[in-house]
């Protein structure tokens, strides 16, 4: 399983007064079971890029391959693409519409034309996978739930389609810290149990560093940086020049090593920073 993007270009309002190039030669590849984090300031083209990956937008030029199959040549069946590539939009709770949670989660699988038993099975699994109590919640209205629960129900609605690639656009936006942590651990759980590719956009650099195998940084419709999180976050000045930042732990360690030059640090997460500091203190205690 892989997803490959080749030289993607997209223009909003071509030939009109508001013409803007949203994507300008974007290429990358994600392989089996990897998590890709996407960062970039508002308007850098992230959301436009995501919508190309399941055929919601058609590129002006360039191609998208899912599993080696081209989805931009006009021959691919849309239902088939949307089954393979699940896309969870920003604030997905605003798309809920059914009377009960179970019915809402069943909407996607129903559109795939599955059997009743298969649908019931998938709905139950998906709701449990997002960390909700199926029996307790299945008959309640989605509009009665809390914000974090609503969001998880909406994500379950996409997972129940059993995609091989799951794309999440700012899955933790606007959640309180505990719901935030719930959604992150839910994404990890989905990744582990389904073994699928996950692509997610976030403005939370700590989440990106924590979750992703690879990171791409977008600016003005182009990919300006790509690599392992450690590599990408070593370009602190470049990132802040684009309205982005390094992780909070990285920022603190940069500040500390500016004061204490012999504390070499490449920590990204709080745990790594703590380990480095502990090691430094132990090392210097005996001097």
């Amino acid at each position: 399983m892989s997803i490959e993007v080749k030289d993607l270009r997209y223009v909003y309002n071509p030939g009109m007064p508001g013409e803007t190039v949203a994507l300008d030669g974007v290429s990358f590849e994600v392989r089996d079971g990897e998590i890709l984090g996407v960062i970039g300031h508002t308007g850098s083209g992230k959301s436009t890029l995501l919508q190309h990956l399941n055929g919601l937008l058609k590129p002006a030029s360039g191609d998208v391959y899912v599993d080696g199959q081209c989805i931009t040549d006009g021959k691919a069946k849309l239902v088939e693409i949307r089954r393979k590539v699940g896309l969870v939009f920003q604030y997905p709770e605003y798309q809920l519409f059914e009377e009960t949670v179970a019915k809402d989660v069943a909407f996607g699988p129903k559109n795939l034309g599955l059997s009743e038993e298969e649908i019931a099975d998938r709905v139950k699994n998906a709701i449990e996978l997002v960390g909700l109590d199926f029996e307790a919640i299945k008959d309640s209205s989605p509009f009665e739930l809390s914000g974090g629960q609503k969001r998880r129900v909406a994500i379950a609605g996409v997972i129940a389609m059993h995609p091989s690639v799951l794309i999440l656009d700012e899955p933790t936006a606007g959640l309180d810290p505990s719901a935030h942590a719930d959604v992150l651990s839910m994404i990890r759980r989905i990744h582990e149990s389904m073994g699928i590719i996950i692509i997610f956009v976030s403005h939370n650099m700590a989440d990106i560093a924590d979750m992703s195998d690879w990171v791409i940084v977008m600016d003005h419709g182009r990919i300006v940086l790509r690599g392992k999180p450690r590599e990408v976050f070593s370009h602190g000045e470049m990132l802040s020049g684009m309205g982005l930042a390094v992780t909070p732990a990285r920022a603190i360690m940069n500040r500390i090593s500016a004061e204490i030059p012999d504390l070499k640090s490449d920590a990204l997460t709080i745990d790594e920073a703590a380990a480095e500091l502990r090691e430094y203190i132990n090392r210097t205690k005996n001097i």
Binding site: N13, P17, N54, R83, P92, F107, N111, L112, F143
Partner: protein, 269 residues
């Protein structure tokens, strides 16, 4: 898809037409619509069409952009054309069973179609060259005298402002919801009319909920800034008539005279 509807949209620019006072443009548009009904032969339409194209040329709004808006109402025009074509009695040109086309019917159908096209382009010229906010300000001022007989002119203008302001927001919202449901495999394009109507439910319910949320937020935001209705309210940008408006007024009067005179010209056909 939805973005293609240009009817009622504003086309940014700084032409003399754009710079006219909104009140002038509202009156001119109303007058133009009335004039289209004064016209009784094709000479009048020729003059009215020429005048309209002069305005379009001065406004520098691309003709392509204007006609794109027309495609949305093409169905209405086609419907009127067909109804008129078959429903009028007179000299028969073509007949098949109960369907017949008469000379008078053809003339009437063409006449109505031209009138509708001019009507739509004429009124869209107003919205294309005037910012919605200026338009409603102008309307409020024009309706002010009627507040003496109890017409809530400020409230009407405010409702229009809000409605116009939230068209793009709701379009964006609709677009987002449609995409989200498509991502879940929803199909809005196939099936018979009942299936299609049913497939709209996943769009309409979230849209309703969103609009209530937006309305509530807006009401709160307005209250938080002490909005309490029209009485004693001042504005930051007062609108004023300028020299261009005087010129436009003279042109309007001359044009009205020409249109009335055109009624007495011999018919072309």
């Amino acid at each position: 898809m939805i973005r293609d509807i240009t009817l009622g949209q504003y086309y940014p620019g700084s032409s003399p037409v754009h710079r006219l006072d909104a009140r002038t443009k509202i009156i001119a548009t109303l007058l133009y619509i009335i004039e289209l009904f004064i016209v009784n032969n094709f000479w009048g339409f020729l003059i009215a069409g020429a005048a309209l194209f002069t305005v379009i040329a001065i406004s520098r709004v691309p003709v392509k952009f204007i006609f794109r808006g027309l495609t949305a109402v093409f169905l209405i025009i086609a419907f009127t054309f067909v109804i008129n074509l078959f429903m009028v009695d007179g000299r028969i040109l073509w007949q098949w069973k109960i369907f017949k086309i008469t000379y008078e019917g053809l003339m009437r159908a063409l006449f109505m179609a031209v009138r509708l096209v001019l009507l739509i382009i004429g009124s869209s010229m107003m919205t294309l060259t005037t910012k919605p906010i200026e338009l409603t300000d102008g309307l409020e001022k024009l309706l002010k005298p009627f507040s003496l007989i109890g017409l809530p002119s400020h409230e009407i203008a405010l409702m229009m402002t809000i409605a116009l302001r939230f068209i793009p927001t709701l379009m964006e919202e609709t677009d987002k919801i449609i995409k989200a449901q498509q991502a879940r495999g929803a199909d809005f394009e196939s099936g018979n009319i009942f299936q299609r109507a049913k497939s709209l439910i996943p769009i309409l319910i979230p849209l309703f909920i969103s609009s209530f949320r937006i309305a509530q937020d807006l009401a709160l935001a307005m209250e938080a800034r002490c909005y309490h209705g029209g009485a004693g309210r001042t504005r930051m940008n007062e609108i004023h008539f300028a020299r261009g408006d005087a010129a436009a007024a003279i042109l309007m009067i001359v044009f009205l005279a020409v249109i009335i005179a055109s009624r007495f010209l011999p018919t072309i056909f």
